[in-house]
Amino acid sequence: MKKPMMALAAVAASALFLSGCAATDTTEEATTAATQSTSTSTDTAASVSLLESVQAAGVVRCGTRDALPGFAVLDDSGEHVGFDSDFCKAIAAAVLGDATAVEMVDLETADRFTALQNGSIDVLVRNTTWTATRDGSEAATFLQPNFYDGQGMMVAANSGYSSVSQMKGAIICVSKGTTTEGNAALESSRLGLNWEVRSFDDTDLILEAFIAGQCDGWSSDVSQLTGFRSAYPEGAAALAILPEVFSKEPLAPAVLDGDTAWAQAVNWAILATIQAEEFGITSANVDQIASSTQDVSILRFLGQEIESSDGSAVLDPSLGLPTDFAYQVVKQVGNYGEIFARHLAPLGLERGVNALWTDGGILYAPPYR
């Protein structure tokens, strides 16, 4: 009586397992078939760009994360939403003409470059600071930064600190495994402040420690601090972010080294959002502008036909992108200002250095011509 039941269980289990494999097979069949041409050719010729294989596969695999406030979080249906997620969608809109054709791959901080190197993602848009070492030794090519951040210090408003240099011997709480940890130690020794730096696994734990008074200061990227300040249980006024910013953190998308065509395509998808804001084109008015404007540079940018003495023509800069990629990006995702307003402004972040160059910021897109 016992044995047949066990045999039955084993049969059931193996059937389950096999069907599980079968299920993944069938769903992956489509992508495998689609990438067949490229997967066979990548072995023979390394010169085939990801741009072509992504267009053949019909989906962009975007390395991201699932729990970074404002930049990439899961909504209640499990979709990724946030500033970085929107740039993933912008890349898909530019390359494939469909902002939804993106597969978000959640990555841990430690795995992100490995995933890029082993080809399990096409592009990394994961709040990653562009540094020389990462550029050089991680086989990553960094592109136009989508956010210029910097590390700052948050203290309780009633702590009496008004400058970082007053925080002698303070306990500083940071997240583990980030550049923040090293920057805090560096800043401490540079100013001779003798900080005790405490690392936490999760920002929620820092929050609890901070509320419990275990930390004198909380150091992280200013964008993060602003987010936590605005949501602080006792109100944002209970906290103060000190004026000093003691590191440069240009957060930039990255692709694998040695694939110029793909790098350029991704880069122009980012730049298109900046250029669109400069032109004043938003997702709401893009159709109207495309049909009514006489401005040649805007028509060119949106991939519209330009009348000239020798007939009409559409500018194709030979980036390997559809000529209307900028239109698709703006229409489906929006311009830089819209993306910022959607995800970062609610956290209480100001444009600051992330404003257009015409508004005193440093966002500047090369001319599209």
Partner: protein, 395 residues
């Protein structure tokens, strides 16, 4: 009662002080806990994200398949549980049966009620009622088999295959139709755990037998497998499976994260299980094997009819312990393989715009812990029942 209290809690001054202090401490903890659960806890974060926590990104339009699978499984469990029950003539009072049922399934019923209350949809209520009805129907079918002569003539094996066919077809159908990469939440923890347990058990048995084999090569292979796999931390194996695999094979043909997780958990658990079962085999006295030989039984028959059944029975607690640990270890897959399993989602939802930085980590992790605790506790209780039924520890 007062006498008992006096004798056990307040025998001397020292005892009295300890009793009062401990009682006050326990009361304070319970009070805090109750306050958190019923007053200060902000459970809307769980309410809003309930589907995400339970099934991840599982497509909404396919949820009915999942529901039907649960119903089919409940039916099967009901039928199997009743058909294996002995002495149908023994009478027990209705109250006693009801109390027994409650003590055995009360926890699951309570959890089901909590989830239904959180979900607050008609579908959830219907699923809850349906599950109970399916179990009842299963029991009726099981009873009918014993009572009705025509049905009783059907051989046991065919009967079992007939019963298991429905849930199996339903589950396989769900697997085939939905994209496995969209599975998530608690569903994925349970799926990985059940599959790994089912696969690791036979593998562990064969490794244990192989390690005691008289053939040197078989022994060497099994021993080195066990020692190698046991020597590596589980997390390292998961990381290797998650990250390193793609350096060797193109990412297009690399298997999905679930496949990798199941492979690693099966390999790892089998190695530990092999040692547990070997311990069980060694507890069987040599005289039994010799007696089997004297009767002219083959080695295979001696193992599968005499030593192995006793060995497995003797090590039930340790085996179940290993399975419980596997069930909870599935949370490691979230960090190592970037899967959206329960713990990872539990951490992620506290970063949503509406809940950011409000210290809701207690609510979300509390819910995660509750699900795992109920799962583990039920496993442990059922193993104790099995022990009692098989008379482990009683000679």
């Amino acid at each position: 009662m007062i006498v008992w209290l006096k004798r056990n809690m307040f025998r001397s001054v020292g005892d009295s002080i300890i009793s009062v202090v401990v009682a006050a401490l326990a009361g304070w903890v319970v009070w805090q806990l109750l306050q958190f659960v019923f007053i200060t806890g902000r459970w809307e974060i769980i309410q809003v994200n309930l589907k995400l926590l339970l099934v991840g990104r599982f497509p909404e339009e396919l949820m009915w398949m999942l529901g039907t699978s649960i119903l089919a499984l409940s039916f099967w469990i009901g039928a199997v549980a009743s058909s294996s029950k002995r002495d149908p003539d023994k009478k027990t009072s209705l109250i006693k049966t009801g109390f027994g049922l409650l003590s055995r399934f009360g926890l699951i019923i309570a959890l089901g009620a909590i989830i239904i209350a959180l979900a607050g949809t008609l579908d959830a209520v219907l699923l809850g009622i349906g599950t109970v009805a399916a179990i009842a129907l299963g029991r009726l079918v099981g009873l009918a088999r014993r009572r009705i002569a025509v049905l009783a003539k059907i051989p046991w094996l065919i009967w079992q295959i007939l019963l298991v066919a429905l849930p199996l077809v339903m589950i396989v159908q769900t697997l085939l139709v939905s994209d496995l990469s969209e599975w998530g939440g608690f569903l994925i923890n349970v799926y990985i755990a059940i599959l790994s347990i089912a696969l690791a058990f036979p593998l562990g048995v064969f490794l244990a037998l192989g390690r005691r084999s008289s053939l040197p090569i078989v022994r060497l292979v099994c021993t080195s497998y066990i020692e190698l796999v046991r020597g590596a931390p589980l997390f390292v194996l998961l990381l290797l499976a998650g990250v390193a695999l793609e350096f060797f094979i193109p990412s297009e043909i690399a298997p999905g994260a679930i496949f990798r997780a199941v492979t690693v958990f099966t390999m790892f658990t089998a190695a530990y299980l092999a040692e547990i079962i070997r311990g069980g085999l060694q507890s069987i006295s040599k005289g039994q094997t010799e007696a089997g030989k004297a009767l002219g039984l083959s080695t295979v028959k001696i193992i599968f009819l005499i030593t192995l059944p006793q060995a497995l029975r003797n090590v039930i607690p340790a085996q179940i312990g290993q399975f419980i640990s596997l069930f909870k270890d599935t949370t490691l897959a979230g960090a190592a393989l970037s899967m959206l399993e329960l713990l990872k989602i539990g951490e992620a939802i506290t970063k949503q715009d509406d809940y950011l930085g409000q210290g809701l980590v207690y609510e979300s992790l509390g819910f995660v812990a509750l699900l795992f605790w109920v799962g583990s506790y039920v496993m442990s209780r059922e193993s104790q029942r099995l022990e009692r039924k098989l008379g482990v520890g009683i000679r």
